[in-house]
C-alpha cells in the first residue's frame, strides 16, 4: 500500500543511500504517519520494500523510542524530565498535565487525543521546562500554561491527524507576549533568556565550615588530606 500511495517519496528516500537498509528509519516514519502507528502489517510492508527479514525491522522498531507499535494519541506529549528541566519545574509540569488529562504516564486519554510520556534531555535546557507535542517543541511550559497549551492542541487536532506523530512536518513554538503560542522566529537574533531580576528574600546563609572536605567531621588527631 505504501508503495502505491508514496512511491515517489520512497524512491527519493532510497536514492539517498548506498545501501537499501539505510532507508529503514525514514520508511518507518512514513509508515507510522500513514497508519497512525506501526502495526505488524506495516512493519512487514517496510521489510518487503527493503528486502529485509521482518525480524530485522521489528528489532529496529523495538530499539528506537520514537516508533510506536501500539496505538497512541493524536498528540504525543513528551515531557523532558532530565536534570536541568527538573530544576525549573518539570515534575510540577508532569503532575499538572496528568491532573488536567486525568491519565497516568504512558497512557492515552479516553478520547484518543493525548498520550503523555517522560523523556530524557531534549536539548533546549535554556527554555526549560520543555515538552514536545508530536515533536513540535514547546518551550517554557510552566504548569500555569498547561491548560492554554492543551486547548491550543485540541483546536489543532485535525492538523495533527493529517501530519502524523513522526514530526515530518514539525514546527517549534514559544509563548508570545500576549500569552498565546506562536511559531518561533528563526530569523530573530538569539537572545538568552532573562529571568526576572527580583531575587527572593535570601535567608541568611549558614555559617561556612572552615575545614576542607564538605562538612565531614574529622577527628582532631588526623592530619588534613594532602590533596
Amino acid at each position: 500500500m505504501l508503495l502505491e500511495t508514496h512511491r515517489a517519496d520512497i524512491e527519493t528516500i532510497l536514492s539517498r543511500y548506498d545501501s537499501r537498509r539505510s532507508a529503514v528509519l525514514p520508511l518507518l516514519y512514513l509508515a507510522q504517519d500513514t497508519y497512525g502507528h506501526l502495526t505488524d502489517a506495516a512493519i512487514r510492508e517496510v521489510a518487503a520494500i527493503l528486502d529485509l527479514p521482518p525480524t530485522d525491522v521489528f528489532e529496529v522498531v523495538g530499539f528506537y523510542t520514537l516508533f510506536y507499535n501500539r496505538p497512541v494519541g493524536t498528540w504525543v506529549l513528551q515531557v523532558c524530565d532530565d536534570v536541568p528541566c527538573c530544576y525549573l519545574g518539570a515534575e510540577e509540569l508532569i503532575t499538572a498535565l496528568k491532573q488536567s488529562l486525568g491519565i497516568a504516564e504512558e497512557q492515552t486519554t479516553g478520547d484518543g487525543m493525548f498520550t503523555v510520556q517522560r523523556v530524557k534531555c531534549l536539548a533546549a535546557c535554556d527554555r526549560a521546562p520543555v515538552l514536545q507535542a508530536n515533536l513540535d517543541y514547546v518551550y517554557d511550559v510552566t504548569p500555569e500554561r498547561v491548560n492554554t497549551l492543551l486547548d491550543n492542541l485540541r483546536a489543532r487536532a485535525a492538523e495533527a491527524r493529517q501530519r502524523g506523530v513522526s514530526g515530518r512536518f514539525a514546527e517549534d513554538f514559544e509563548w508570545g507576549p500576549d500569552g498565546a503560542l506562536a511559531p518561533i522566529d528563526r530569523a530573530a537574533p538569539y537572545r538568552p533568556r532573562q529571568f526576572p531580576a527580583a531575587p527572593p528574600p535570601a535567608p541568611p546563609p549558614p555559617e561556612p565550615v572552615p575545614e576542607a572536605d564538605a562538612g565531614h567531621d574529622r577527628p582532631a588527631d588526623r592530619k588534613a588530606s594532602p590533596l
Binding site: S22, C125, R168
Partner: protein, 378 residues
C-alpha cells in the same frame, strides 16, 4: 572578555543570517567557492591542521589530524556530521542549526571537499524534527545556487548532502553507534579498532565530526589561520559555545574564546548573570552545565575553590580529554546540593550513562540499574 565577532553564533552579529541571501551577502559560500577554484583538498586539510581546530563533541581531538588518518587512495569516503545532541545540558548544536544553518552546510561542503568525499550525511537526533526541516530547506537553497550537486561551479567536484533523522536513542551520539544507526541497524557501538577513518560507514573510510566543529571550518578558510588562532589559547584556539542552564539568571548559549574562567561565565552580567537568589555555591558540571541549588546547604570553601580551579583548567583547554559528567554524583552527594528528587534521578541512571559518572561514587549508587529510555550498557 567578549568577542568582537562571533565565529559560530553569527546570528548575534548579523540579523536573519538563516536566510540564504543574507548569508551570501556576508561572505557566505565565498570560502567554498575560493577553495574549489583555487585550492586543492590537501591545502584545506593543512589549513585546518594549522588552525589547531579541535573537535567540539567532547573529546577535543584535533580535527585536521583526524582527517589525516584517512588511508590514501581508498574511495568512496563518507563525511558524517554528528548532530545527535542528547547529552543533558547541552543545546548549542540545536541553536546553530536553527539560527545559522547555512554556515554548517558550508562547513560540511568544505570538509567534504577537503577529504575528497562525494556524499555527506548530517545525522540528527529524531527529536530535532523541525530543525531537520530547517536544514533541508537550507540544503535545497544551496543546491539551487549551484553549490551542491554535480560538477559544482564547473570544477568537476560532485557533492550530495543528506539529512538523516535518528529515531530516539541516546547512544546513537557515539560515533560507531551512529554509523550502525545510519546503516539501518539498532544503535550498538562497534568495537574499535578499526577506527572509522579506516572502516566506518558501509565499511568505507569515514570522517565524523560534531556540528560545532564543522561550523568553524568556513571561517578558518575565509579569514585565515592567523585570525583564527588569535582567539582562544595556544593549545585550544577558537571559541566554544557554552550552554548554561539551571539556576542561573540568564540561561542560554554563550560563545566565548577558550580560556575564560568558568566563574566569569556564570557571574558576569553579560553572560550567566549570577546564580538565582544570589548564592555563590557553584557546582558546575561539564556536560550538565552549572547545577546548583540556591537553597543548598553549606559547602566547604576550600573544596569549592579546588573544584573551581580544576574546572577552570579544563575550560582553558587542558590536554586531558575527560569524560562528561565524571564524578558528578560524588560531588553532588558531598555538597548535598541537589534536591532529593534530582539526586534520586542520578541514582536511577543506568550504569554507563555519562551522568552516572565513572568516579569513586558510582559503585555506591542505589536504585534500579536501568532507567526507561536508555539501552542497557551493562
Amino acid at each position: 572578555m567578549g568577542l568582537s565577532e562571533h565565529i559560530v553564533m553569527r546570528e548575534l552579529d548579523v540579523p536573519a543570517i538563516n536566510d540564504f541571501e543574507v548569508y551570501r551577502r556576508h561572505g557566505g559560500w565565498e570560502a567554498y567557492r575560493m577553495a574549489l577554484k583555487e585550492k586543492n583538498p590537501a591545502d584545506i586539510v593543512a589549513m585546518v591542521k594549522e588552525s589547531g581546530l579541535r573537535g567540539r563533541g567532547g573529546a577535543g581531538f584535533p580535527t585536521g589530524i583526524k582527517w589525516g588518518f584517512l588511508p590514501k587512495g581508498v574511495y568512496p569516503r563518507y563525511l558524517l556530521c554528528n548532530c545527535d545532541e542528547s547529552e543533558p545540558g547541552t543545546f548549542n548544536n540545536h541553536q546553530i542549526i536553527d539560527r545559522n544553518p547555512h554556515q554548517l552546510i558550508e562547513g560540511v561542503a568544505l570538509s567534504a571537499f577537503a577529504i575528497e568525499c562525494h556524499t555527506a550525511y548530517i545525522y540528527m537526533r529524531g527529536e530535532f524534527a523541525a530543525a531537520a526541516i530547517t536544514l533541508e530547506r537550507a540544503i535545497a537553497a544551496a543546491y539551487r545556487a549551484g553549490f551542491l550537486g554535480k560538477n559544482i561551479l564547473g570544477t568537476g567536484f560532485d557533492l550530495d548532502i543528506y539529512v538523516h533523522r535518528g529515531a530516539g536513542a541516546y547512544i546513537c551520539g557515539e560515533e560507531t553507534a551512529l554509523m550502525e544507526s545510519l546503516e539501518g541497524k539498532i544503535g550498538q557501538p562497534r568495537l574499535k579498532p578499526p577506527f572509522p577513518a579506516v572502516a566506518g560507514l558501509y565499511g568505507k573510510p569515514t570522517i565524523i565530526n560534531n556540528v560545532e566543529t564543522l561550523a568553524n571550518v568556513p571561517r578558518i578558510v575565509e579569514k585565515g589561520v592567523a585570525w583564527y588562532r588569535s582567539h582562544g589559547t595556544e593549545k585550544s584556539p577558537g571559541t566554544k559555545c557554552f550552554s548554561l542552564s539551571g539556576h542561573v539568571n540568564r540561561p542560554g548559549n554563550y560563545e566565548l574564546p577558550f580560556g575564560v574562567p568558568l566563574r566569569e561565565l556564570i557571574e558576569s552580567p553579560e553572560y550567566g548573570g549570577g546564580m538565582r537568589g544570589g548564592r555563590e555555591d557553584h557546582h558546575p558540571r561539564r556536560g550538565l552545565g552549572p547545577l546548583a541549588d540556591p537553597r543548598a546547604p553549606r559547602c566547604a570553601p576550600r573544596l569549592r575553590e579546588r573544584r573551581r580551579r580544576r574546572f577552570d583548567a579544563r575550560l582553558r583547554g587542558g590536554d586531558r580529554p575527560r569524560r562528561y559528567g565524571e564524578g558528578a554524583p560524588r560531588g553532588l552527594q558531598d555538597g548535598r546540593v541537589l534536591q532529593a528528587r534530582v539526586l534520586w534521578k542520578m541514582h536511577s541512571l543506568p550504569r554507563g550513562h555519562p551522568l552516572a559518572g565513572q568516579g569513586a561514587a558510582s559503585h555506591r549508587r542505589r536504585g534500579p540499574r536501568r532507567a526507561r529510555g536508555y539501552p542497557d550498557f551493562a
